[in-house]
Symmetry: C2
Subunit: 428 residues, 2 copies
C-alpha cells in the first residue's frame, strides 16, 4: 500500500506553484524538531524511525494514485507527471531510534530539492509525533516500575493500526511484552495474555473457568481473580492449579492494599512463587505508588497509548535553509514572535562529563566542534542519495534507549512536572 | 490486509480454553458501552461504524496468519484449525454512525457463540474508541464555530493511518474539509490546502512567493500572511492578486485582534470578499473566543486528532449474557465495586418531548416499551447471521449527527465542564 497520500493537500499545491516558477528545484534543508517538550516532561524519546524509513520506501505515486489526483484536480498535469516519477534522491540524517531529545533538538534533517523534501512533511511528522509520544510516556512508566516488567495492553483504546505502532514504541522504551498480536507478527515483539472477565462469566462458576483455563493453558497461566470476590478466587485458583500457579491478575480496587492481602494469602497457601500482576488504568504515577507493594508486573493500557497526557510530541517540520539562484545555501526562518525558529543546517551533540553524565544538548550551525571524547554526536545518516543506509533493529533501539537514559542526571527520573533535565544550548 | 491480528493475545488463549471445555459454543451477547463520558463532556458521538463493518469483513485468519500463530505457539493446533475457518455468523446491532451516546448506552451489541464474538473485542473497541473520541471533540468545535466552516488539518500530529480515520470522524461531526489526501481518496471527503511558511521562505521575497502562488493556483487561493509582517503581507497579497483574492490565513499571534486589524485592512483595500482563515492550536474554546471576530473559517489540527483532552472514548466490551447448558440466556456481570456492569441484552431509546426535544437516554432489558411516536429507538441492525445489512454512507452519518444534535436541549452546547446533558435511565 502506498504511503504517498498520507500527505496534506497543501504540500502538493505548493509543489505545483514551485514547479511552475522553478523554485521547486532549489536545494533545501528541512528540519524536524520540537519547540518544547510536553508540559512538565524532563526529556523526550525518539521512536518511529524504522517505520519512517519503511514508509519512505513505500512513498510512490503509483498510477492509481496519480489518476485520482488528476481526476480530482488536486494539482495540474505537470505536477501529476512529476509525481508519477517521484523518488526521493536526497539525504536524511536523524537522532536514531531510542535516543532522547530536548527542545530544539534537530531530530530529523532532510536535504534535497524543495520538491522532493516538502512532500514528505506530513508522513514524517505523523510517524515521529505519534511514536515518540508513546515512547516518551513509556519511558517514564518503565522508570517508575524500576525493573519490574511492564506489559503493553492498550490496543483497544487507540486506532487499530496506531495500536501496533504503540506496542512497538513501548518496546523501544523498555516494555517487556505487548498484548497486540499484529505487533508480534510485524515487529517480532513478545506477546502475552491469558484471559478476561468474560471467560469467567462464560462459565457457570469461577471454579469451572479456572479449571478450564489451567487444563488448557497450564499451571503457569495467569488467573484473573476480581470477577466476584478476590479472596475466594485466590483460594479457588490455588486449589485448582496448586501452589505452582504462575500468576494472578487484579484489575480493580485499591491495588496497593489488595496486592498485600493477596500476597499474604498466596504465601499462606504455599504459593510463594505465584506472581501478582496488576492492571486497571495504571499510569507512571500509579506504578510509582505501587513500588512498595508486592507486585511483580504492571499491565498498562489507556495511559500508554494516549501518551499519558501528551498524545503527540509537537514536532514541526520547517525549511531552515535553501539555495539562492547562485546555489549558495541561505538560512531561512519564520519571524513570528510565538513560533520563531532558527535557520541553518544544524549539528547536535550531547555534552557529557568525564564520568559520562549528560550535561547539555548542544546544537549549532556550521562545522561541529572537535569531539573531545566525552561528548556524543547525535545525528546519524539514515538515507544517502536516496538510498537507505540505516537498518537498526528494534533491539538496537532498545539498547540505545537504555544507554541514553542511564547517562541522564538523576533529576531526569522525577515524575513531577518540571523543566527539561538538559538545557539546549545554541552555538553559532 | 487481514485485520485478524489486530487482536489481543488473551482473546485467542481464552478461545483455546473454551474450545477445550466446550463453553466456546455457548450462545453469548457482548455489549460495547462507556461507563462514563470523558470528564466534563455533555454527550458523546458515535463514529467508526462504517470502518468497523469493513474491518469485520476483512477479519480472516488467512494461511500466513494461522502459520504464524502456530509457529509462535500462541494457541494450540485445535484452535489454529478453528481460526482458519473463522467466519462471523452472528448478529450485530448498534447505534448508527453520527448518533449520540451517553453513559451506559449500548452502543454496539454482538450476539453469536462466545468463540466468534470474543475474538472481535479488541478490533471493535479500537475502531470505536478512536473514531468516537475524535467525532466527540469535533462536534464541540463545529458547535462553537456556529456555522463557520471547520477545516481538519491534524494529520501530522497523529499516527499516519489514524489521521485518515480522524478526518473521517471529523467529517461525520460536521467538519467541512480535511487536509488529508488519503481521506479524500478512501472516504470521498473534500480536501483543501494551499501553502505553508516553507513556500514563502523558499522564495527570495514574500512578493515572489505570492506571485508564484497566485499565478499557479489562481486568485481564489489562500495566502499565508504571517511569515514576516502581517500588515505588509496583506498589502502585498492584494497588490499581487487584486481585491478578488480568495482568502488569507493567519497562523500565529493574538488571533481575535489580528483578525479585526486584517479585516479593516482588507476592506480598506477593497478586498471586502476576501475571507480570513485562522489556524494555530485552535480548540473549541479558542474557536468560541473568536465568535465575535471577523473570521470566516477555522483550521483545527492537534486538538482535533487528540480528542481535545479526551483521546479515547473509554468504551469497554463486556459479556452481558450467555447460554447455560439448557440454552437459556443467563444475564451475567462482573461484581467489582468500581467496574460493575449490568447484565442482559439491552434495548435503548431516546425519550423525546412532544416537541422533539431529547429528555433522557432510556436503556432496558427484555421487551422494549411501545413507542408512543415521540421516542426514538436507537439500535439498528448492522449484521444479520453474518451478513452485513448496514451500508450507510458518510453523508447519511453526517445528516444523522446534525439531526441528533438538533434534538438536544440547549445545555448540550455549553463548552464548560459539566454533567451529561441527558440522564441515562435503566428500566427493567
Amino acid at each position: 500500500m502506498t504511503t504517498a497520500l498520507l500527505t496534506d493537500h497543501y504540500e502538493l499545491t505548493m509543489l505545483q506553484a514551485a514547479l511552475a516558477d522553478g523554485t521547486a528545484h532549489r536545494h533545501s534543508v528541512f528540519e524536524l524538531f520540537a519547540r518544547r517538550l510536553p508540559t512538565g516532561r524532563r526529556y523526550g524519546v525518539v521512536a518511529g524511525t524504522g517505520r519512517l524509513l519503511d514508509a519512505l520506501e513505500d512513498f510512490r505515486f503509483d498510477p492509481d494514485t496519480v489518476a485520482w489526483l488528476r481526476e480530482r484536480g488536486v494539482v495540474d498535469d505537470t505536477t501529476c507527471d512529476w509525481l508519477a516519477d517521484y523518488r526521493f534522491t536526497g539525504d536524511v540524517w536523524g537522532y536514531p531510534e531510542g535516543e532522547l531529545y530536548f527542545p530544539a533538538s534537530p531530530v530529523l534533517v532532510v536535504e534535497g530539492t524543495f520538491a522532493e523534501a516538502v512532500v514528505l512533511e506530513t508522513l514524517f511528522l505523523s510517524v515521529l509525533n505519534h511514536d515518540s509520544a508513546i515512547a516518551s510516556a513509556a519511558a517514564r512508566m518503565v522508570g517508575a516500575a524500576d525493573g519490574r516488567p511492564c506489559i503493553e495492553m492498550g490496543s483497544r483504546r487507540t486506532h487499530e493500526r496506531a495500536a501496533v505502532a504503540a506496542a512497538r514504541a513501548a518496546y523501544v522504551a523498555g516494555f517487556a511484552t505487548t498484548s497486540n498480536l499484529e505487533a508480534g507478527r510485524t515487529h517480532g515483539i513478545p506477546t502475552a495474555g491469558t484471559s478476561a472477565h468474560s471467560f469467567t462469566l462464560l462459565h457457570d462458576t469461577e471454579r469451572d473457568a479456572f479449571t478450564a483455563q489451567v487444563a488448557s493453558l497450564g499451571t503457569g497461566t495467569t488467573l484473573l481473580v476480581d470477577t466476584y470476590d478476590i479472596e475466594e478466587a485466590v483460594r479457588t485458583g490455588i486449589d485448582v492449579a496448586g501452589p505452582g500457579l504462575g500468576a494472578i491478575r487484579i484489575d480493580s480496587g485499591d491495588l496497593p492494599s489488595l496486592a498485600r492481602r493477596v500476597r499474604e494469602q498466596l504465601d499462606g497457601l504455599g504459593a510463594t512463587a505465584t506472581r501478582i500482576v496488576v492492571t486497571s488504568d495504571l499510569d507512571e504515577h500509579a506504578i510509582a505508588g505501587l513500588a512498595a507493594a508486592p507486585v511483580d508486573g504492571y499491565g498498562v493500557g489507556t495511559s500508554l497509548v494516549t501518551g499519558s497526557g501528551a498524545p503527540t510530541s509537537g514536532f514541526v517540520y520547517k525549511l531552515v535553509a535553501r539555495a539562492d539562484d547562485g546555489d549558495a545555501l541561505v538560512p531561512v526562518a519564520k519571524k513570528s514572535a510565538d513560533k520563531a525558529s532558527v535557520g541553518g543546517r544544524k549539528w547536535a551533540l550531547r555534552r557529557r562529563s568525564a564520568t559520562g553524565t549528560a550535561q547539555a544538548e548542544v546544537v549549532g550551525i556550521g562545522a561541529p566542534p572537535h569531539d573531545d571524547g566525552d561528548d556524543r554526536s547525535l545525528l546519524v545518516p539514515f538515507v544517502e542519495g536516496g538510498t537507505r543506509v540505516h537498518h537498526d533493529t528494534l533491539d538496537d533501539a532498545r539498547a540505545r534507549h537504555a544507554a541514553a537514559i542511564a547517562e541522564l542526571p538523576a533529576a531526569a527520573h522525577k515524575l513531577s512536572a518540571g523543566e527539561p533535565v538538559l538545557e539546549t544550548i545554541f552555538e553559532r
